[in-house]
């Protein structure tokens, strides 16, 4: 079957009424998550996994997986649209990927051009989303055909590369990021070993036999960690919001932002495909590029529309691009895609080259629904932007406890144990202190998801080679992955030693 045929089948799935509903729900929640400062895409997706699991509980497993993933992915790219709203209206980024949008977006709002900035952000995000999706459609099958020949040694090295990439860019200190990675890998070893059936680090506690649930850890570290941080550090004062006058951009605005949108989309897409880079980095690079090639760079920071169009396109394109390594190789390149991967695994579906062979419905249904979701987001974000702007005004005193209550409900509804609730609260505290002291939590979650797979592939490879570790170097592809992984860690260290600034990715 050709790619077009698969894609059409995907649309047939995406257009089933319940999947349209799930996509719509996903992008609406995603936009809200993007608008609310304090909940990022990562905690948004993590919080919704239990909710989607119960929503889809009546469906057969493969359909349930498709619908859930459609919703969760909708939250992810929906958040990229919503993030710009607070940056422009409040000068407070809703997510880290919209930080640079504040520079020119808020200035535009002060000049009374808030509507134009918001709509250009939405149009740019839409175009970028579509470009990234076309890239995904074109690259998905060729890439998974290459990956299908990978043996355990190649997989082991590729996953190490994924971990190295995320750790190398994750925080101010690579040492701390690597410590978090190792911690995540260690947490993943708790429970019954899948190969030998022997209990490890369980100390005869029955709750530990099935291992530490990644969902509990992710919700605790991200969602609760952020809530605790806000309770600790912010006072309840709500800031005033800029007014939105006209929504449609002028012809001149459109003309000025066409080229930046195109550049931002391609740049964002390629950075999104690279593991570890992600949306935040993409928006920074897009902004810097625009400023560099602009004829009057001094107009940036004073309300230049290119400074909104380009980064907003880039972060959305990056979120689309980040789906490629996840779906085709089974390697998540960022914290949010790691959580999506965890959702796949919860439904017993392994992302990777076999996904397109064994579960074409899930893979192509998701891709087709993303086209649909981006269209919905464009419609939602243009006329309804005023409604979403209202969400910003949700009082914090209601919002924060409700996020805690949703976390507890979500974890309990999936796990049914009090133990997981205590683990959740513990992870919340840990998440707060880790983040406060620059220990990035995204590598931990990624390592927890990848850990069991890394170990399995390592042991399978070593069984093939009779215990010789040289198998990882002897296979050329595996060697290449390992070399890149080492470089990914070493290059930022060397650059720091030479006194250069390294842009880091706070979203993960």
């Amino acid at each position: 079957m050709s790619t077009i045929q698969y894609l059409l089948d995907g649309f047939a799935i995406a257009f089933q009424w319940h999947n349209i509903l799930f996509a719509l729900l996903g992008v609406i929640i995603g936009t809200a998550v993007g608008v609310l400062p304090g909940i990022g895409p990562m905690s948004g997706v993590a919080l919704l996994i239990p909710v989607t699991a119960t929503l889809t509980s009546g469906l057969p497993i493969e359909m349930a997986a498709t619908s859930s993933i459609i919703l969760l992915a909708g939250v992810y790219y929906g958040a990229m649209y919503g993030g710009s709203t607070t940056s422009i209206l409040l000068n407070t980024p809703g997510e880290s990927s919209s930080v640079v949008t504040t520079l020119d977006g808020y200035q535009m709002a002060r000049q009374g051009r808030a509507g134009a900035a918001l709509s250009i952000a939405a149009i740019g995000s839409f175009i970028a989303g579509i470009i990234a999706l076309i890239g995904l459609v074109l690259l998905a099958r060729p890439l998974s055909k290459v990956a299908i020949n990978f043996g355990p040694a190649e997989y082991f090295s590729l996953m190490l590369l994924g971990l190295a990439a995320v750790s190398g860019l994750a925080g101010k200190s690579i040492t701390k990021a690597l410590i978090m990675t190792v911690l995540g890998l260690l947490l993943g070893t708790i429970g019954i070993d899948a190969v030998s059936g022997i209990a490890r680090f369980t100390y005869d506690q029955p709750v530990l036999f099935s291992g530490i649930e990644f969902l509990t850890v992710a919700v605790g570290l991200f969602a609760l960690g952020e809530v605790f941080k806000t309770i600790f550090e912010k006072d309840g004062a709500d800031e005033p919001i800029a007014k939105i006058d006209r929504i449609l951009p002028t012809k001149k605005d459109l003309k000025d932002s066409a080229a930046p949108i195109a550049r931002g989309s391609f740049l964002g897409f390629f950075l999104g495909v690279l593991p570890g880079a992600g949306a935040t980095l993409a928006s920074f690079f897009a902004y810097i590029t625009e400023k560099k090639i602009s004829k009057n760079p001094e107009s940036f920071g004073k309300g230049n529309i290119a400074g909104v169009a380009s980064p907003e396109s880039a972060n959305n394109a990056a979120s689309g691009g980040a789906m490629i390594p996840l779906l085709t190789l089974g390697i998540p390149g960022s914290g949010t895609t790691a959580i999506l991967m965890g959702a796949f695994i919860m439904y017993n579906i392994q992302p990777g080259p076999l996904l397109f062979e064994e579960h074409p419905d899930v893979a192509w249904g998701l891709i087709a629904s993303m086209f649909l979701g981006n269209l919905m987001l464009l419609i939602l974000n243009m006329p309804l932007v005023r409604v979403f702007a209202k969400i910003i005004q949700t009082p914090k005193r209601f919002l924060l406890p409700i996020i805690i209550a949703i976390s507890i409900f979500g974890v309990y509804a999936v796990q049914y144990t009090t133990f997981d609730l205590f683990l959740l609260l513990g992870c919340g505290i840990a998440g707060y202190f880790f983040a406060k002291n620059d220990f990035p939590v995204a590598p931990l979650v990624l390592a927890l998801v990848l850990g069991p797979m890394i170990e399995n592939n390592m042991r399978r490879a070593l069984t093939i080679s009779n215990g010789e570790f040289s198998i990882f170097i002897a296979k050329p592809l595996s060697l290449i992955f390992l070399v890149i992984a080492v470089l990914w860690i070493l290059i930022p260290i060397l650059m720091k030693l030479r006194g250069k600034n390294v842009i880091i990715n706070e979203e993960g």
């Binding site: 509980s57 009546g58 040492t175 030998s196 309770i231 550090e233 209550a405 009090t418």
Partner: protein, 154 residues
């Protein structure tokens, strides 16, 4: 960034790494006699963790000056330790009592306490939001979606 936290963390991780190496030796070897058993992976990770924690300890020594600057910058922030403690303790109580007292009562109580801790007064709106949230989640989840949550104790 906090010098004390990083130092303590590096020592905690060092101890953790040593414990993992010791404990991984207690994992029974797998039956088929391969050298690569269930203990290999944790053992290697334990060694890596020890190495990284030593590295972190040296970094705290090397960057002492930088820590001081950052600390002075962040020193002025006021923290809300008391309100955090109240909310956290009520969250622990919520988790502990959920199965004993049922979802509705515990959720309502937790939300009301937290709302009032973050901002005193406005009792009416607090009670309405807390009651609405617990009721919508409970009846929506149990009756509409067919899930199950702890009921009333009676």
């Amino acid at each position: 960034m906090n010098l004390k936290f990083d130092r303590v963390a590096s020592i905690v991780f060092l101890v953790l790494g040593i414990l993992i190496i010791i404990e991984s030796q207690k994992i029974s070897e797998s039956a088929y006699g391969s050298q690569i058993g269930p203990s290999t992976f944790p053992f290697v990770l334990g060694i890596v963790l020890i190495g990284l924690s030593i590295l972190l300890f040296f970094e705290t020594i090397r960057h002492q000056a930088m820590y001081k600057i950052v600390q002075e910058k962040e020193g002025g922030k006021s923290s809300n330790f008391k309100r955090f403690l109240i909310i956290f303790i009520s969250a622990v109580a919520y988790a502990f009592l959920l199965e004993k007292l049922g979802y509705l009562i515990t959720t309502f109580a937790f939300l009301l306490i937290s709302f009032q801790t973050l901002e005193r007064g406005k009792w009416v709106s607090s009670i309405i939001v807390a009651a609405a949230f617990s009721a919508i989640i409970y009846f929506g989840f149990v009756n509409v979606l067919g899930g199950s949550l702890p009921k009333f104790p009676l």
